[in-house]
């Protein structure tokens, strides 16, 4: 579904990702594990086109991504929730959620429906629809970011350290949400980076280890 072949990327001339190749199988949840600075965020940013790959190719169902501009990813139904939330402070939560719909010129009906889906999966968001994006706490922000990614996603969903900074209760909640998501959208390909894998143990189908910018041997999930 999403496949990388010998992808490399560097920031400010420093090579960060080295010759990365792997494939995500449709409908599976793959977890990218690696200690701090391993290159998880960079990898996701590269897939999203926010950082140009210096070499290699990234394909989604055959379409080459590296040659496409960053904004084209969303059109292909790839949702992305960044590590550091990145909400639009002056928009309300709901407007934040609806932004992708606007960007993708979705029909009113379509965006209504996706929004409803998000609220179904993440009820607590509905409670703060009218709050400004700048006014939600770190953790709350994570939830909104997930919801926003869900508005986009059709084929794949990329989450960067979703649990970072979540209170355990919320983290569990979040994990369950992902579980529900699985059931509702079985064909969805999930790609999650995490520095502390336990929480994901029960939803992950595959695990990939990244160390100093390159992939280590794949390990089957427990």
């Amino acid at each position: 579904m999403l496949s990388l072949s010998s992808v490399s990327a560097s920031i400010a001339g420093i090579p960060i990702l080295r010759d990365i190749s792997f494939e995500l199988k449709p409908g599976l949840t793959t977890v990218l594990i690696g200690r701090n600075g391993a290159g998880k965020t960079t990898l996701l940013r590269t897939i999203m086109g926010l950082l140009p790959a210096t070499s290699g190719s990234i394909k989604v169902d055959g379409t080459e991504l590296t040659t496409l501009p960053a904004y084209a990813r969303a059109g292909l139904g790839i949702g992305y929730a960044p590590e550091d939330r990145r909400l639009i402070p002056e928009f309300t939560i709901e407007d934040n959620l609806l932004l992708p719909a606007l960007a993708l010129k979705l029909s009113r009906a379509e965006s209504e429906e996706r929004l409803a889906r998000v609220y179904r999966l993440l009820p607590e968001l509905e409670g703060m629809r009218k709050r400004p994006g700048g006014g939600v706490s770190g953790g709350q922000g994570k939830m909104v970011a997930l919801g926003r990614a869900l508005m986009v996603t059709r084929s794949a969903l990329l989450l960067d350290e979703p649990f970072q900074g979540l209170a355990p209760a919320l983290a569990l909640e979040y994990a369950r949400t992902l579980g529900r998501l699985r059931e509702q959208l079985p064909e969805l390909t999930l790609f999650i980076t995490e520095s502390s894998p336990q929480l994901l143990a029960d939803i992950s189908d595959e695990m990939i280890r990244i160390e100093r910018g390159s992939i280590e041997t794949d390990a089957e999930a427990a």
Binding site: R35, S137, G138, G139, Q140, A167, A171
Partner: protein
Amino acid sequence: MSKPLLKAENLEISFHGVKAADGVNLEINEGEFLAIIGPNGAGKTTLLNLCTGYLKPSAGHVYLDGKQITHLSPRQIAKRGIARAFQIPQLFTDHRVIDNVMLSNAARLNLWQMLSPLDRPRYRDEAMELLRMFNLADHANDLASTLPEGRRKLLDIAVALALKPRLVLLDEPTSGVSAIERFGLMETLMTALRQAKVTALFVEHDMDVVRRYAERVLVWNRGHVLTQGRPEEVFQDQRVIETVVGAV
């Protein structure tokens, strides 16, 4: 029981009608390690903002050894010995890692020293020691902006400790630090604090960390204290399990 070092009296503040602090009372005693836990959006970070003068409470007072500090600026409060590490690391991204720490050291210098070179062996060694402690030593000469999230967190803490504070407020010190490194970090942190006899208040989401290191836990929800006490008793509390720990 020693006397309270920091004391907050029914602090109040709200944003767009959301009460982030709703009559908060808090005491932290000389030399103790107090942990604050609570669901996201409970108001933990806000509390730290109030105690360090970044935000002004709409009501209530903050005292440092009995003296009002409510209306002081973050700078004045820092001068009085309260250091802070942030949930979102606050670094001098255009400076090298070591400069970040040395600048923090320099804050204690007088005007004349302020005008003589910063990068001197004495300051350097002092800073390197800290960096080693947080195993950032081999990044000493990298630009802070090039650190990954996790390492930024560590550097942010190092900068706070470099101030040689009496009280340090840590906002989720272990978030973004991978599970493998977490306890290592906490160990170094704790030894550092004990050596320097620094009182610490830390906001934390990792309950294992809290259990292991906190002497007292303050459970926070919707802008006020839900309950507090020793970790083992707090973690028995049903409300706490619901709102924070979560039933596994």
